[in-house]
């Protein structure tokens, strides 16, 4: 069985590795250049310095300026990152969907399932080997991406929790890739033709990913709230790396006055005509900024939960696929 699996998929494995190598050849120099610039701008220590409560105003300004310059230079790479998050679903389309569908489409399931091994074992070995190989690929991809996007995420305000970058690095690519492959395999056992199976895989993957990303992820842990006054010195660097879910300005009684906004006035500052800070919005004295957020240090916890969700879905789909394989003739 192992020999057969290798013989059937070696060409595909070769091309996949070739594509990954080409990708690495393209991305590694960019990553190195990014890191070079990052340290040239003196940003290497900024993260730890800014995290301290008593950070000097000068340091903060230097760091912010550096981050901005870095962002101007490499911000467009975020678009490349958008392209890179499609890799898991591509693996699902080209490794998962054809696994059963191509056998049935070409009728070879009737050859291989009537030999002496039985189709349950065939399915277990085949799904196992493909999932195992994909697991290795996804781990390499996830670690490589973590390295690659690291400077970009440090320079970005939302840090590693950002929409695209969270999905690109760490261990979540493992969950996504296994899920994509399992979905492809399962779709192949239901529709039994390669193209429909691939189409369903693509649609299903996007649907589930979007649902988890937009609806479920923010609720993995109860969000924290933070309040801070609307008057104070300097820009409030309270949330670098935090994932802000909602924010606004509230009156002392808690009513939301400016949803999505944030106000910062110098202490005791007066506007034209002597109005106090925010009076034109209807803010009463004692109004405060409010935000609902997931703190930056929950990154790995969230990575773990998200990976767990997708691995569990993948296991379920593979189990269903094995059950369906028993009913295909």
């Amino acid at each position: 069985m192992i020999w057969l699996t290798w013989r059937q998929h070696r060409k595909q494995a070769f091309y996949t590795l070739l594509a990954l190598a080409a990708l690495a050849a393209l991305l590694v120099p960019i990553g190195l250049a990014m890191r070079h610039t990052f340290s040239d701008l003196g940003l290497t220590d900024c993260a730890s310095q800014l995290a301290r409560a008593d950070v000097a105003q000068a340091t903060r300004e230097t760091c912010d300026a550096g981050y901005r310059r870095f962002g101007n230079q490499y911000g467009n790479l975020s678009l490349v990152a958008v392209l890179l998050i499609t890799l898991p679903v591509l693996i699902g389309l080209f490794w998962g969907a054809p696994l059963v569908a191509r056998e049935v489409e070409q009728g070879t399931h009737r050859f291989v399932w009537t030999q002496g091994v039985g189709r349950t074992r065939w399915a277990l070995v085949k799904f196992g080997l493909v999932s195992g190989s994909v697991l290795i690929l996804a781990t390499v991809y996830g670690l490589g991406m973590s390295w690659w996007v690291d400077p970009l995420t440090k320079a970005a305000h939302e840090g590693r929790f950002g929409m695209i970058v969270f999905d690109l690095q760490g261990i979540v690519p493992i969950g996504y890739t296994l899920f994509a492959v399992a979905l492809g395999v399962f779709a192949g056992t239901v529709w039994k033709r390669m193209l429909p199976a691939m189409g369903i895989t693509l649609a299903g993957f996007i649907g589930v990913r979007a649902a988890v990303e937009l609806l479920a992820r923010r609720h993995y842990q109860p969000a924290r709230t933070q309040t801070f006054p609307i008057e104070g010195e300097g820009p409030p660097e309270v949330s670098r790396g935090d994932w802000v879910l909602a924010q606004g300005v509230r009156n002392p009684d808690g009513t939301m006055i400016a949803e999505g906004g944030r106000i910062q006035c110098p202490s005791g500052g007066k506007g034209p005509e002597g109005r106090v800070c925010g009076a034109e919005l209807g803010l009463e004295p004692g109004a405060y900024n409010w935000q609902l957020y997931q703190p930056a240090d929950r990154f790995w916890l969230f990575q773990g939960i998200e990976t767990g969700v997708f691995v569990a879905l993948a296991v379920l789909l593979l189990y269903l696929a094995i059950r369906r394989v028993r009913r295909i003739a």
Binding site: W3, L4, R7, G107, T108, F111, T114
Partner: protein
């Protein structure tokens, strides 16, 4: 049929009111038949009669929806051990097209505990099949031979072949059947091969199963079938009993004369009838014509 244990032992394939349904349509229904050991059996019926379904049930690819199927006394669905005794060549002889014949022989060795790779290589060498060419690039006849060699390398006790010659030209057909007969003659393997044309298999088979419209129309040894059927020609027949006739299979009438194809249970002595012997093909056609075709006037929106 109950049958004693002893009888059961020589039955390779037995089905009892076997049925398989796709949605609401029965592909095979109330199919009861026996295939004794050592026979070369032809499974004949028009396209869509349920031949492939029956073979898939026998090799365990399908699970019955009704009744039972037993191969060597075991239920084949989900029975991996039982698969070792069954060689199966599916319709259109599907093989991994990018594999070479030599690689397929290796693959078979990896997939089967009992595997005679030498036999397969010898057969393929004898037939002049190139070992290092992807089988997708071989001719249809050569590919069928590769599939047969792989099935035989399992050293099966029952060999099932689904329309093995349907896509072959007449010469390749003859060669395929000849090589099949040559290899099963010594081993005593029971063979069941299907075709929609009796003519393909008439020369090689000694047992016949006729399927039509998802039901068994006729089954038995070829010699018995030929000897117990007769054609009677005589005055217009009104449907009354004729001495020695067990059943009228098919009747056609002109104003004065009736031609009957009958199954006999004794000599027909009535001098009013002229008795003629029949060929196997006459018998099969009579039974196939007997199967009622379901009309679909309402679906087409035309009057019946």
């Amino acid at each position: 049929m109950s049958g004693t244990r002893g009888q059961r032992m020589d039955m390779v394939l037995e089905t009892d009111r076997l049925g398989k349904r796709y949605g609401s349509t029965w592909a095979l229904r109330d199919c009861s038949l026996h295939l004794p050991a050592g026979r070369i059996a032809a499974l004949v019926g028009p396209n869509g009669a349920g031949k492939s379904t029956l073979l898939h049930l026998a090799v365990g690819l399908l699970k019955p929806d009704a009744g039972t199927v037993r191969v060597f006394g075991r239920s084949p669905y989900g029975d991996t051990e039982g698969l070792a005794d069954i060689g199966f060549v599916a319709q259109d002889t599907p093989l991994y097209r990018d594999f070479t014949a030599a690689e397929l022989v290796i693959a078979g060795g990896k997939l089967n505990r009992r595997w005679d790779a030498t036999l397969a290589r010898q057969r393929l060498a004898q037939l002049g099949i190139p070992p290092d060419k992807p089988v997708g690039k071989l001719s249809g006849g050569q590919r069928a031979q590769v599939a047969l060699a792989l099935a035989l390398a399992k050293q099966p006790r029952l060999l099932l072949l689904d329309e093995p010659v349907a896509s072959l030209d007449p010469l390749a057909r003859r060669e395929f059947l000849q090589s099949l007969m040559g290899s099963v003659a010594e081993s005593g393997t029971t063979v069941l091969l299907s075709s929609h044309l009796l003519a393909d298999l008439e020369r090689v088979c000694d047992y016949l199963i006729v399927l039509n419209a998802s039901q068994v129309q006729l089954t038995g040894a070829v010699d018995d079938l030929v000897s117990e059927h007769r054609q009677l020609v005589g005055p217009r027949h009104d449907g009354g009993a004729v001495g020695g006739v067990a059943a009228v299979v098919r009747a056609s009438h002109t104003d004065r004369q009736s031609t009957l194809l009958v199954r006999t249970d004794g000599p027909v002595t009535d001098p009013a009838w002229t008795v003629r012997e029949v060929s196997l093909e006459d018998v099969v056609l009579a039974y196939l014509a007997d199967g009622t075709t379901q009309t679909s006037h309402s679906e087409w929106g035309v009057p019946a």
